[in-house]
Amino acid sequence: MSNSNQSIHAFREQILNAAQNKTSLSIEGGGTKSWYGNLNHFEKLHTSSYSGILEYQPEELVITACAGTPLKEIQTALADKNQVLAFEPPHFGEAATFGGVLAAGLAGPSRISAGSLRDFVLGVRIMDGKGQDLAFGGKVIKNVAGYDVSRLLPGSLGTLSLLLEASVKVLPKPAATISLRCNISQARALLLLNEWAGQPLPLSASGWIGNANQDGELTIRLEGAIAAVKTAIPLMGASINMEELDPHLALKFWNDLREQELSSFNNLTADETLYRLALPAACGPLNIPKANGEMVLEWHGQQRWVKAPGDEATFALIKQIASSNGGHATRFRQGVNVDPLNQRFTLLTEQAHSIALEAVQARLRSAFDPAGVFVTSRLP
């Protein structure tokens, strides 16, 4: 039996055992995002043994790899052919795996211009809670045969099935990249970013960092054909004076923003929580009570990070603010004194239009996993 067959065999055994013992399994790749989602102490199912790129032909714009493949290995292979994962997934650590990235479903700075992680998923091979080895989707961009199960996996945090392999769409690396910076209020930044996004400009990412009611630092990135980037600079300069960033500094900035290594993220005190707010484009500046320090706005304001006390009352208030603006909030990271057992997410039942989906979601999970092997409460 080959190594990969051995892994599959071992996964099945562990899943069937868990089903028989009426217990659950917590799937883990490189363990770099184990802090994300609700805490659980179930036995781990480690995917790292099932590793390797299975197929990569640059002219097909698709890469297929095993869940345990290090993300770095995939990005190196793509870089060799001048291609990228256009959704710029955060690694959150050296050991990040392909499967972990997909299960977390998180995207980086280019989310609004390039699309979400799930937009790039073309097909998956999974093992369900009955130990069945199943394939959905494929390796082609256009495919409408059967329900699109492969796109249910991203962001499911291992609560639906075990991801074994995935095929994702890749894109050529943009020919030109330029980053620009200026000081500007949050309100004006949100206005400008939305105006620019509505014009044929190669705006690929934005980040605004500052205190709620003061000027902050806006950094934007233009990416695309050389001619497109060149012609865009004077057009955007007509709205506001911007300074061009040194390419090395720019690269480091976008990298640190994506990995949350900027000082605005990494000085969380013991009683604080880093909240993530996902919001509609129309949402203006928000006043978050008890917010501490600088806020970080990404995705033209559609993803906002704020540090505030980690107690239930503060989370309830932040959820209410996000919700009343058409979005939702997450406890993304927590300080050491904050109760690790608390609920990190907004629930379907907390939003009027999704109450009836709670039952649908529960039935979906039990269709793939009748014994509840993957029901770890990590994602409610």
Partner: protein, 501 residues
């Protein structure tokens, strides 16, 4: 539990009549008189969709005018356990809106308002019956448009697009419906009104919007769609390249992608198609070419100039025998006219044509074309090959004469063999037309029992009683067992006047 797509004997007339009067009397109190049809002369236009080979008369047709009525209708049918077939514009090509003889057709055609347009957030909220092209027309003055452009966009509705995850000729660069819809509001079979997705970049819980996309009216009835609008490119130009060999043309497609270019459109036609359309539209195509490629670039004038130059270089290196670049918008549209009219052109040279929709990895394009050439000899039928080469989505048009039952039989066998070849080459049986009723048997080839069982699990999660379009999309175990012995005979495509594919 009702598994409608098993092979069951047709119900007798008395049963049908009793069921019909039960349904009609339940629906009458909640719908205006003109919104409920049950006399055969009124319901006959609904007996099929764009795939006219498959027809059935429904018990009744409901044409609700509000979301509230949609919810009430579904709740009533849920309680009476009467199946419901949702219907948009009826342009679908896989029989996904074919009625069920003991069921209701729920037409969303009257929900056709554009509710709001927001240029600041680049979004529009529309009802499901709004035509695809009407969205772009309504926002054109703002310099915006809705990107997915299925060739039937003049008639097809956005609700139908969501249910088929429709693409179009520009989806290589701009994505499918999935990539351009932010939120879908809909009604579950039990009458509950819900929202999938959000104006925010993500939602709590599992990503249920993703599974609604392309679900062929089997999971929920769409009542409102929020689409993403994007800035209209300032300019578009197209290159028309000829090749004296199909393989060279296919390799040129791969070479363009490998060069790091994502063209706005990348389409291919074989010689038989070129000849058929040239006679019809006089686009100026090279009649001696074995394959013709259309490569479009869009963006700012500088960007387009740069990309056209790079694509021209790649095409020359790939051995193009002739290259023409559109000089202006009139010429660009002329170059496209042949590609867009492949369907009516096929109709001029043959009595009937049967359109396939498989997708294969790009590198196998030449392999599949050669196999199709061999199949033409095997089945003694001609075939025109047009396809979205950029994404490997092929539309072979098998030519036959429907008046000759043996020719239709051979056309069906020919089609099935093409789909089997697509699966074998690592592709899929349907890229954008959906499974519907037409390709339900081919689902037995593409998926194993475990996958099909999971699909039923998904179905049951949304619709535990299996009442929403239950005989489409996913074959039952029984059906796959019967596959091979069952043959449904049929004929022609409705709406031949529409541009397609």
């Amino acid at each position: 539990m009702i598994y409608m797509n098993m092979v069951t004997p047709p119900p007798d007339l008395a049963t049908i009549t009793a069921l019909q009067s039960k349904l009609v009397s339940a629906l009458r109190p909640i719908l205006p008189e003109h919104a409920l049809l049950w006399e055969p002369e009124d319901t006959i236009p609904y007996e099929c969709d764009g795939l006219a080979a498959y027809r059935k008369m429904p018990l009744a047709v409901a044409l609700p005018e509000t979301e509230g009525q949609v919810a009430q209708i579904l709740k009533i049918c849920f309680d009476l356990e009467i199946p419901v077939v949702p219907r948009g514009s009826g342009t679908g090509l896989s029989g996904g809106a074919m009625p069920i003889s003991q069921g209701l057709v729920l037409s969303l055609a009257k929900l056709k308002k554009i509710i709001s347009i927001d240029p600041f957030t680049r979004t529009a909220v529309v009802q499901p019956g709004v035509r695809n092209l009407a969205i772009s027309e309504a926002v054109a003055h703002l310099g915006l448009y809705y990107a997915p452009d299925p060739s039937s966009q003049i008639a097809c509705s956005i609700g139908g697009n969501v249910n088929e995850n429709s693409g179009g000729v520009h989806c290589l660069k701009y994505g499918l419906t999935l990539h351009n819809v932010l939120k879908v509001r809909g009604v579950l079979m039990n009458g509950n009104i819900v929202e999938f997705g959000s104006l925010a970049p993500d939602t709590p819980g599992l990503d249920l919007l993703a599974i609604i996309m392309g679900s062929e009216g089997m999971l929920a009835v769409v009542t409102e769609v929020t689409v993403k609008l994007i800035a209209k490119p300032k300019l578009a130009r197209v290159i028309l390249a000829s090749f004296d060999d199909i393989e060279k043309g296919a390799n040129a497609v791969a070479a363009i992608i490998a060069a790091g270019i994502i063209p706005a459109g990348l389409e291919m036609m074989d010689k038989a198609t070129t000849r058929a359309v040239e006679e019809f539209v006089h686009a100026g195509y090279d009649l001696d070419a074995q394959a013709i490629l259309l490569c479009e670039s869009d963006g700012t004038p500088e960007e387009v100039a740069e990309e056209i130059e790079r694509m021209t270089q790649v095409l020359e290196q790939s051995g193009a025998s002739c290259i023409q670049i559109s000089k202006d918008e009139t010429e660009r549209l002329k170059f496209w006219s042949g590609r867009k009219n492949a369907f009516p052109a096929a109709g001029r040279i043959a009595a009937d044509y049967y359109c396939m929709d498989g997708t294969i990895p790009r590198r196998h394009i030449a392999t599949l074309l050669k196999r199709i050439q061999a199949m033409e000899k095997k089945y003694k039928l001609g075939c025109l090959n047009v396809f979205h080469a950029g994404d490997g989505n092929m539309h072979p048009l098998i030519l036959f004469n429907g008046a000759d039952p043996d020719e239709w039989h051979r056309a069906e066998e020919f089609g099935t063999e093409i789909l089997e070849a697509c699966v074998e080459l690592g592709g899929t049986i349907t890229g954008e037309h959906g499974v519907g009723i037409e390709k339900i048997n081919s689902m037995c080839i593409q998926f194993g029992e475990g996958e099909r069982e999971s699909f039923w699990g998904v179905k049951s999660a949304f619709d535990p009683k299996h009442l929403l379009n239950p005989d489409k999309g996913i074959p039952t175990l029984n059906r796959c067992a019967e596959y091979g012995r069952m043959r449904i005979s049929g004929g022609k495509l409705a709406h031949p006047e529409l541009e397609r594919f």
